[in-house]
Subunit: 254 residues, 2 copies
């Protein structure tokens, strides 16, 4: 398919068949959705703005109208845009966005994360996670405890400055949420946690002091193992507050 001469018209050097890199494994429509979502979250299209028509925009992005439309459907599903005949596709007010959708969160944190929004997320996390720890203390079984313990061991081995260590940290929190036996709680906190850790990694590169977080985690674990709900809740609260302090310091610096 390189320069195989001609299909019909020989003198047409097919203008480089558009080596489509397409970022990573993502399909074309997904890539378009990603791009548009990013642009909207970054504020390039403000709420109330109306996108140029399907044909025009699809052409501009060099994709077919089908691919473009499917991307718009995705954005619509996440409450970012609304699309009506004759009116066109317009960006909805921020209050209609599904801010807790994992993709939306990812888009929000892709660029320079909005400081206020990060604060809001931490506030939500500070509400939900301690309560979750309390519930976990009441409902955990032996398997839950084992998973938490293993995660802590992993955290000890690799520190939080390595990817493996952060993965173990995530596992620990996930194990706690799992122990609450509450799917909604798990979904919520998983999204927030992912987004927040998104900033953690980003915070690390700001040569912050790797304060040893293990003792705090251990305190949460002990309380949950002892079925002490209020202690678990309080310990988790400390954990979240410390994380907020770190992130705030790293972000305020810029």
């Amino acid at each position: 398919m390189r320069d195989d001469s001609a299909m019909d018209d020989p003198n047409q050097p097919p203008v480089e068949p558009t080596r489509k890199p397409r970022g990573t494994g993502r399909r074309l429509n997904g890539a378009v959705a990603h791009k548009l979502g990013l642009a909207i979250l970054a504020g390039e299209y403000a709420p109330g703005d109306t996108l140029s028509g399907e044909i025009a925009f699809a052409e501009e992005l060099e994709v077919s109208r089908s691919a473009y439309r499917e991307a718009v459907q995705v954005l619509m599903a996440k409450g970012l845009v609304e699309s009506r005949t004759k009116t066109g596709t317009r960006v909805l007010p921020r209050s209609r966005w599904n801010l807790l959708d994992p993709d939306v969160l990812a888009w929000a944190f892709a660029g320079e994360p909005d400081v206020d929004f990060v604060r809001n997320l931490f506030e939500l996390r500070a509400i939900v996670e301690p309560a979750a720890a309390g519930l976990a203390a009441e409902r955990r079984d032996k398997v839950d405890l084992k998973v938490m313990k293993d995660a802590l061991a992993e955290m000890r081995r690799h520190t939080l400055s390595s990817e493996l260590g952060r993965a173990a940290d995530r596992d620990f929190h996930t194990a706690i949420l799992q122990a609450t036996r509450n799917d909604a709680l798990l979904t919520l906190s998983a999204s927030i946690g992912a987004a927040v850790n998104w900033t953690t990694q980003f915070k690390q590169r700001g040569r912050t002091l790797p304060r040893n977080a293990l003792p705090d985690h251990l305190r949460v674990y002990e309380a949950i193992a002892a079925s002490d709900a209020s202690e678990a809740s309080q310990a988790m609260r400390v954990l979240v507050d410390l994380a907020l302090d770190d992130t705030r310091a790293a972000m305020g610096r810029r």
Copy 2:
């Protein structure tokens, strides 16, 4: 495609062009997404099941492949299904669903709501709303208070047994969330609240005692007006607990 005989044959009244009722104002692709989402949430397609191919399924639903695909994109955006080439599109495990997406919640509550899931949502609400009331007590301004007061007046005029009364109730809660100055909190609680009130209306038809909820609401309002965070939080907790009792009673009866 039925008994096509002739495309060009003019005297063919084309078998009644299928007056498409399409439910309500919804576009065709939206309707398909609705239908599929409903079916998945209802458990007609279990996690791990793989849908019959695009061509087959689209044909079965009597829509074009484009419409079907756009619907699937929506479901994919909400984490309900995954679609890979050669494997087909399959329903994802429940843990990957965006349970807090407004549409997903609506689909979940469309049929017979799962008792456990309702309990989980109330649990989440019991965590979030009291905390929100506490924050509102600290941050509310005069405008917030006025909106709340007006909503309470409306609630007094019409009772909770009328739609207007319930709308006023929603306004009251929304005003509180608005006063927290936290978008994420607002998005979350708005979704949950909507879903929960979805069961409220449904609970009413079970001739439950219309216990007067106004005093409880008033207590929350007073605490917020007085900037008493802990009192506001506690009062809201009472409110949520009572709502849970009502709903549990109404649901347990069946």
